[in-house]
């Protein structure tokens, strides 16, 4: 199978969906020459840096029969559009009694590891998960990125589509032709016996690398990628934990009220899964600080393979530590 980057996969998804449905339009503050050349500047809008306005424009156009794909740039910039996201997009369908659909996709990049410091290294997945009313997608491979973006655009609800910056240039196999991935379905990226590791975005790859290394030492790690955070495929994660009896969640957001916390709650609330646990559950998260600039500080703040392996060993020994702990 051909291999392309996440960025190329996302662009393919945009082109295919704009070809498939003329109601799909794109709004972003940066120009997208490939799209603009194909579809013209009526459907591919280059916008002023006015996030609140174009977030709401996407919503209003969605309520008026179009399927806008709005790119905020970095998730950082979405914070100046919070009224439109929190008060409008996440509530508009339910609050009005379901009388209209709002098929709008909000894309943005997330995550640290690129030495661009606190404001531009955020992973605020859980802030958006908390809102009720937004579907939240967080892919980790080119194939999932393409398939899920296509599903997001076709979905009749507001969808927030997170694109991990560190994965942008990562290559992977993507099927030719029509390829979609259903929203709300997790995937076991590596089957294992002893420990379940749920990774988010970049940390799916890191968990896979640790699993490979530990396999040589006789430890069998199952790696699961939720791919969608809302709706969360809790049953896939629970089923894995019932099999292994141990759970580590790796998330580059700080632990407090994080997606990792939500995953632990969904797993431990379930009686059968709780009874199957052989050790306390464990989070590996970012330090509770704004992500710092200097490489050694940034590396210290974010999860890494050493900490993931340490957490796996701790749950195997039944001795967890706080979610952020230097290995």
């Amino acid at each position: 199978m051909r291999e392309i980057t996440v960025t190329q996969a996302l662009e393919e998804a945009m082109i295919e969906e704009m070809q498939r449905d003329e109601r799909v339009i794109a709004l972003a503050t940066t120009r997208a020459p490939a799209l603009e050349n194909k579809f013209g500047d009526r459907r591919v809008r280059f916008t002023p840096i006015s996030e609140a306005a174009f977030t709401g424009i996407g919503l209003g156009a969605a309520g008026s029969g179009f399927r806008p794909v709005v790119h905020w740039g970095m998730v950082t910039f979405s914070f100046v559009a919070m009224d439109q996201i929190v008060n409008q997009a996440s509530k508009i369908r339910y609050m009005f009694g379901g009388q209209a659909d709002f098929p709008v996709t909000y894309r943005c990049t997330t995550g640290g590891g690129a030495q661009i410091a606190a404001q531009h290294s955020q992973s605020p997945y859980s802030m958006f998960m908390h809102l009720a009313g937004l579907k939240i997608i967080l892919p980790s491979t080119p194939a999932d990125a393409k398939g899920l973006l296509k599903s997001a655009i076709r979905d009749n609800n507001p969808v927030v589509f997170f694109e991990c910056s560190r994965l942008a240039g990562v290559t992977g196999p993507v099927p030719d032709g029509e390829h979609t991935v259903p929203i709300g379905v997790a995937e076991v990226k590596r089957a294992g016996r002893d420990v379940t590791v749920v990774g988010l975005a970049y940390y799916v790859r890191e968990a896979l690398a640790v699993a490979e290394a530990l396999a040589a030492k006789g430890i069998s790690v199952e790696v699961i990628d939720p791919r969608t955070l809302v709706p969360m495929d809790a049953e896939a994660i629970r089923a894995s934990v019932r099999k292994t009896g141990r759970l580590v969640v790796v998330d580059e957001a700080p632990a407090t009220c994080s997606a990792a916390s939500e995953i632990l709650a969904l797993v431990t609330e379930d009686p059968d899964t709780f009874r199957a646990l052989k050790a306390p559950v464990q989070r590996v998260c970012a330090a509770p600080v704004p992500v710092p600039f200097s490489p050694p500080l940034e590396q210290a703040a974010l999860p890494d393979q050493v900490r993931i392996e340490a957490a796996i060993r701790r749950v195997l020994e039944g001795a967890p530590r706080p979610a952020f702990a230097r290995a």
Partner: protein, 324 residues
């Protein structure tokens, strides 16, 4: 140009309906028969009715927290509005929205909004949709003087003008942003002056003169349908009653003279249109009375409709969250 009799009568009927609907809602709220917060549109009826008179049924609007007038002006069903205030399942939002969140997408009413300026970007999106559809559709957003302090106001004016979107910015300057007089929060009170800064025409009109509002809106609509972009219409009006009430209306803090001036028969938008029409022998006082009687009967029927409607079933709490 003066519209024909049928249109004038319909404008008068809608203005009387808005007035009586909100006065009745206040009484119902005092009696605890309806719930939550209420923001009466009393005194501002000419803005919604004048602007909506320039629109087609397929044109789209967004409204504000003070939204009952915009609903009625755009043609909403008062039975379903009333049922919503009563929190019943036959309300526009099945009881999930209440007074501040009434919408009727079927008539292009894209929603009242609890956030000042929150509807402006959404209206801008509806205008973008109209531009892309290329069928001569327009959108209008209603907002108050308070919205001009929000970033969404400025962002939306800029983008709408840049993209020449078919959009009417209808500012109802009722002289108060919640408890604050407009001159206490703005150094410049002529809101139309924002228009030239964003490269669009801006006009100030007497917002208590429904025909003046309609004329300005018709001109703006023509310009928008031609593809020449948005217009800012600054309607100078007056919030005749309070900002908001819960169980009881808040105490009035404004001077009796000021209230008497704006509520006077020659300044109140409803009596003003009434007197204009009877003075020109376009309608008789008997016809006006007949309209009032009809409105009263329709509102009694709306309350009966609402009270006959069941409360939503708590088992349906999660319904309408996500579309299939």
């Amino acid at each position: 140009m003066l519209p024909g009799k049928a249109e004038l009568v319909e404008m008068l009927r809608k203005m009387i309906m808005i007035r009586e609907f909100d006065l009745l809602a206040i009484e119902l709220r005092k009696q605890r028969r309806i719930y939550g917060a209420l923001h009466p549109y009393v005194g501002e009826e000419a803005v919604a009715v004048g602007a909506c008179a320039a629109l087609r049924p397929t044109d789209r609007i967004t409204s504000t927290h003070r939204g009952h007038g915009h609903c009625i002006a755009k043609g909403a069903d008062i039975n379903r509005m009333m049922a919503e205030l009563f929190g019943r399942v036959d309300g526009y939002c099945k009881g999930k929205g209440g007074s501040m969140h009434i919408a009727d997408f079927a008539i292009g009413m894209l929603g009242a909004n609890g956030i000042v300026a929150g509807g402006m970007p959404i209206a801008c999106g509806a205008a973008l949709a109209a531009q892309l559809e290329d069928r001569g559709g327009v959108a209008a957003c209603f907002f108050g003087d308070g919205a001009t302090g929000e970033g969404e106001f400025h962002e939306t004016l800029n983008i709408a003008s840049l993209w020449k979107l078919p959009l009417l910015f209808v500012c109802e300057n009722n002289r108060y942003g919640a408890g604050n007089a407009v001159e206490s929060v703005r150094p410049v009170t002529d809101i139309s002056l924002h228009a030239p800064a964003y490269g669009m025409p801006g006009v100030s009109v007497d917002g208590n003169d429904v025909l003046a509002v309609r004329d300005a809106a018709c001109e703006a609509v023509e310009r928008a349908r031609r593809g020449d972009g948005p217009t800012l219409i600054h309607c100078k009006t007056f919030r005749s009653l309070f900002h908001a009430m819960r169980d009881v209306p808040p105490p009035e803090t404004r001077s009796a003279d000021l209230l008497a001036e704006w509520r006077g028969r020659n300044r109140d938008p409803v009596t003003r249109l009434e007197d204009f029409l009877t003075g020109r022998d376009i309608v008789t006082t008997a016809e006006v009375q007949a309209i009032r009687d009809t409105v009263k009967r329709d509102l009694e029927a709306a309350v009966a409709f609402a009270e006959a409607s069941p409360y939503p079933d708590p088992n349906d709490l999660l319904v309408d969250m996500f579309a299939e």
